[in-house]
Each structure stands twice: as C-alpha cells, then as structure tokens.
Symmetry: C2
Subunit: 368 residues, 2 copies
C-alpha cells in the first residue's frame, strides 16, 4: 500500500541527500538538530531482542546564572497490538502489559523519568467498528482496574460512564490524577462519541518531580485553543498520545504538535500508534466503498517538538519504537523571553472577541 | 552564509530523491500535490525578462451538486528592494512601484484575481535600525498617499499616528478598506513598537467578488487566536504578508501558516520578503555582537496552504518571484464537513476559560 512504502521519512532524506545539503535541508525542515544521546548497551540489547526501535536525543538550553539546567528524560512509546483482535479481552490486555513492560524496562535503563504510551494502549483501536462488544469490556475502572496506567476509563461513580482518559502516575506509584480527552472526532470511521463523549476535566496540569506535564489526547491536537489552555495552566511538556492513520492525517502529523510547541513555548510529545489492525466483523466507512476488516495503517512517526521550533527525528512508520528525549526545561522560558508570544498575544482581547463570536446573534465583521 | 546555501528546499529534494520515493516524501511532507497550472507564454517571457521566478498551481475540490466550483486565482509576490537604502525616499518608492507593476502585469496575463504584496513592500524593512529618519517618511496616508496600495500608513485623522496597515483594493479600483497589524514583535532587532503599535481594526474580513479575504500581517502568524478570529468572521483566504529572516524563523515558516489553514478550514497565503538589505548606519542587535549594516537574509519561500493540509511548493529562497495558485474555495466547506473542527471546537468553553485565565487572580489548575 502507498502509505507503507517508506519506513521513515528522515531515513529516506539521509539516504539520498549529500551531507552538506542534508544539513541545510534538516535545518529548514526541522530547525537546529537535537544531539544524539548515549544509552546503555543493555538497553540496546533489550530493544534488539524485543524487536523495537530505540532512538535517543538531547535538546539542550543555554546555561543560566540563577537556574541549573532542568533536565528531564521523556520516553515515547509506539507499538502494534500483540494478540489478534479476536483473542479474549484479558489475554489481549495482558499481552500488551507484557509488551509495554519490556519497553518500560528499557526506558528505565536509559534513565527515563516520564513515559507516555499511545492512546488506548491496552486495546485495539476498535472504534471504527461501531460495535459495543467486546470493545467496551476493555474500559477499566480508574480506581481499581487491572491496568494501573490506562487510557480508557469506566467511571463507576457516575453510573458506569465511559471516558477516554489518561491517568498520570507519579514515580512513587501514586496516582497523581486523570485527565480526559477534550475533543472527540466525528470524522470518517471515527465517530468516537459512539463510545465516549467530550471530557469534563478541563485542562489540568500535573506537577511532577520532573516538571509540569499535561496530556492532550489525540484529536485535541487539531484544536489550538486546547493546546493554549494547557499552557495557561503552566504546562512545560504536553504529551499527545494518538491513534491516526496515513490516509487520514499523515501530512498534518508533523505540523500540529510542532506548531503547538512554537505557539505556547513548551515541549510537545506526539505519539502515534503503529501497525494495521484487523477486526473480526467487516464494517463500512461511510465512503461508498465495500465493507472491510482493516481500518488502515497507523503510521507511528512519534516525535518530540521543542519551543524553539526544532524537533527530533521521528520513529519509524512501520515498527514498534521507544523514543527517548532529554529535555532542558529551561529552554521554555528562554524561548518565551526571546519571542514573547504570551506577552504579545493580547489574550484579553481574544477572550472578549471569542465570547462575542460564539453568541447566537454574532455578526461577523465583513466589509463589502 | 549558511542560510543562503540552498536555493529552494523543494528543488533540492527533487534533485536527489528518486521519483517513486519522492512521491511518498512529498505526500508525507506536503499532502496531495497541487497540479501545475498552465500560464500564457507571454507571462513566462515577462518573468524571464524581469528576472523573477514564476510558478503556478491549481488546488481543486470535489464536484458538488448545488454549487459550481468557486475558482479564484491568487498571486503572491516576493521581491528584493530595488534601490539602495541610501537613495532618496521618493526614488526608492517609485522604483518599487515600477518593479511590482511588471509583476502585477504578469499576474494579470495569468488571470490572477487577487494579488498580495509582501509586508511593507514600498520600503526597505528598516525597523532593525531603530532610526526615525528617513524611514518614517515612507509612511503614507491611506487616503491620498502616492502608493494606492501600501503597507504602512500615516493616520492623519488621529494626529499622524503611524500604523502597519494593509489596504484592500477591489478589482474596480475602489478601496474596500484597511486592516492593521494586530501583533507587534519585540524580538531581536525588531521591536517594531518603535515605529507603530498593535492594530485597532480587529479581525476584519473583506467581501470581494472572488471570495472573503483577510490579511494577517507578519507577526500575527505566531498567534493561533489571531488566525482563528479571521475564520470566525468568515474568511476564506487569509494572506500573511511577512518579512522574516533565516536565522530567526525559517524552521517555523512552513509550520505556522499551514497549521492555520488546517485548524481553520481556509486557505492561507504566506508571503515573505527576499534578499539582504544594507543600511547606511551600523546598528547593534542586543546580542553582544559588533555593530553591522545588514540585518540578515530574508528567505522568501512564499507558499499557499490549503485546508486539507496540502500546500504548494515554495518560491525560491534567493530570488524575486510570483506564485500563482488557482483555488477552489469549495474545498473549505468540504474539509470542514469532513473534519469538523469548528463543530468539535467547544469555543464556548474556551471563551470562558480564556476570560478566567487572563484575570489577575487566575489560579492555574495544577494537580500535585
């Protein structure tokens, strides 16, 4: 298939473009290049045995007089499902637990402080099927479900409501809190409101030992105001666990999380599922085509974007992978002090304009 | 200099990457490729004689039952200054008038309906000098200045206030109105508030015979809310006339206007000045380096981005150029109907959240 032809955009550029011009191509496309980060041999071996890509980079900041560097290592994980979608639910979940455990172990060996998994990582991304069962059985309680970290949640306090939720667990094992998907797609196969509605947890930011983080789940990346509000609440790193396929969104992928990093003076971590998932019952996609059992190829390509507009290379389009990035969070304020978008942003004016424009009797300012 | 080494990113990719892989690289980087648009031989000849690049593309939409295609041709112009910055003001302006006239004539031959010039096109981008004279003499009245179309305006009604303004002229020659730069940089050499302050004309949209257009001047492209409000007011094409140099912003250039097209379901036209401008008096740049007479290389690279995330190739980084794009404005609503970001955008919620977050007693939602 067309969207599976290239394993990695960056590898293709490296393969053909001579070194000197490649440096310029990379500068124009990606900004200053993050430096490679050394990792222990044992981690490389685990990745090799586990059959997943391992890449590591460091994005530094200038030295300051009053603050030491604020280094944090993040680990982004992208992975295929392990068991077929027809396997018993518990078996699918536990195979994914085991798979991710080996990747987390590798991340730990590399000194990673914060890991983030892809969206709905304990299950196939079955929302294209529009079937209830067995998919809703994957939804676990945030309080006492078998997955300590999970992405879809059954809210038992509120009459078993299902949400698309990320739970933040501190390095001590304590649950710091949860945050729900704010924007729910109704596009192509994915009217996810068949399964869960817009989140009601706002734009929480979690203070960890390693910095203030937030989680903007999947479709929220298309909404600049969503990214903005995490910044307003003080986020220094925003993770964007996603599940999106080549035919739908690939040319948007490198743009949106990176634009958010630029516009909001913080780091963003864009994580996409990888692989093709086959479902037992054929389904139609509202496009006049025949019923089919595969939704499409999730193209991976996870990356980290920095507030200065630079970014890491992406993980591959076809394979499981762990991307490690050491970030100096001092860069956020340095870029903010340089560009000053918060200062020049005129947010008071926009609060007023937006309040007007959402009213029923809003008259657009059109000059004829 | 490093940022002048490549004439055009797209040309470099085309030069080295084999055709089949290039198609995939282009798809991932740019989305579906716009088709080349034929132009008259006479136009090509004018461009050759005039020594400027001429490229033309068409970005189509699907046929609809109830609406015919809404085709509009836009022309983006990027150009160096013609006379040295030491020439008399009137001579500099009239040389630029003459230069742009030949480019407009070429555009007319190609059936262009709307042209847009670069920011402050009647003058060198002298704001790095921080000198009053002779630069403020380039500011003209919007009512009766020698430049019918102009970018910097002297507001005589309001005690000679200077603004950074774009004037919109209809195809009949009538002034449709003017719109001012909403966000003023205070970055590096450019504290433009030495010359003019934040605009007070809001986010006007102009209804032309060829669609509803708006002009987001230069630094406004860093501000997602600014792009959003033009959409709220109904813009179908937003022009972004700019002046920005390689060392400052080049890795951001391809991201921001394109993200705006995606997020707001409209077309964006990003236009950047080109060339290096030398000023008579050396100036410092607040970076500890020696005083110098050149600010840096304006890298051109003007392009058009479509609401589906696709974009045209860019004009060159070193040369004057005219980029023509035929756009089917029906694409905006088609993409909106497909992705529906306005529908899933929850703007009422953001109007409230933003109103809260700008208050002095705002408490960020941080969970510890």
């Amino acid at each position: 298939m067309a969207d599976a032809a290239i394993k990695s955009l960056d590898e293709t550029l490296e393969k053909y473009i001579p070194a000197q011009e490649l440096a310029e191509v990379n500068r124009i496309l990606y900004g200053r290049r993050p430096k490679p980060l050394d990792v222990p041999v044992a981690a490389l071996r685990l990745a090799e045995v586990g059959g997943f890509e391992l890449r590591a980079f460091t994005i530094g900041a200038a030295p300051e007089q009053l603050r030491p560097p604020r280094l944090v290592r993040v680990g982004l994980m992208q992975n295929r499902i392990v068991e077929p979608t027809t396997a018993p639910v518990a078996q699918q979940v536990s195979a994914l637990h085991k798979r991710l455990a080996s990747m987390v172990e590798t991340a730990a060996l590399c000194g990673v402080n914060i890991v983030c998994f892809q969206e709905a990582w304990t299950m196939p991304f079955a929302f294209c099927t529009r079937e209830r069962l067995p998919w809703t059985e994957f939804a676990e309680s945030a309080e006492d479900g078998p997955t300590t970290l999970f992405c879809q949640e059954r809210d038992e306090v509120h009459r078993d409501t299902i949400w698309n939720t990320a739970v933040v667990i501190s390095n001590s094992g304590a649950v710091l809190g949860k945050t729900r998907k704010n924007h729910i797609p109704r596009v192509g196969d994915f009217n996810e409101s068949t399964y869960y509605m817009e989140g009601n947890t706002g734009h929480r930011v979690f203070q960890t030992q390693f910095g203030r983080i937030a989680i903007n789940i999947c479709y929220g990346r298309h909404h600049p105001l969503n990214w903005l509000m995490y910044a307003e609440n003080g986020a220094e790193i925003v993770f964007n666990p996603s599940a999106t396929i080549g035919g739908l969104s690939e040319p948007l992928w490198a743009i949106e999380a990176r634009n958010a990093a630029i516009a909001n003076h913080y780091f963003t971590c864009a994580i996409n599922r990888v692989g093709t998932e086959c479902f037992p019952n054929a389904f139609t996609s509202g496009d006049g085509k025949e019923a089919h059992c595969e939704f499409g190829h999730f193209y991976g390509s996870s990356y980290v974007a920095a507030p200065d507009g630079s970014r890491t290379p992406g993980l591959g389009r076809m394979n499981d992978g762990l991307l490690i990035a050491e970030l100096d969070l001092n860069l956020n304020r340095q870029v903010s002090d340089h560009w000053g978008f918060r200062m020049t942003g005129r947010y008071e004016m926009y609060a007023e304009e937006l309040a007007r424009s959402v009213k029923h009797d809003f008259k657009p300012d059109i000059h004829k």
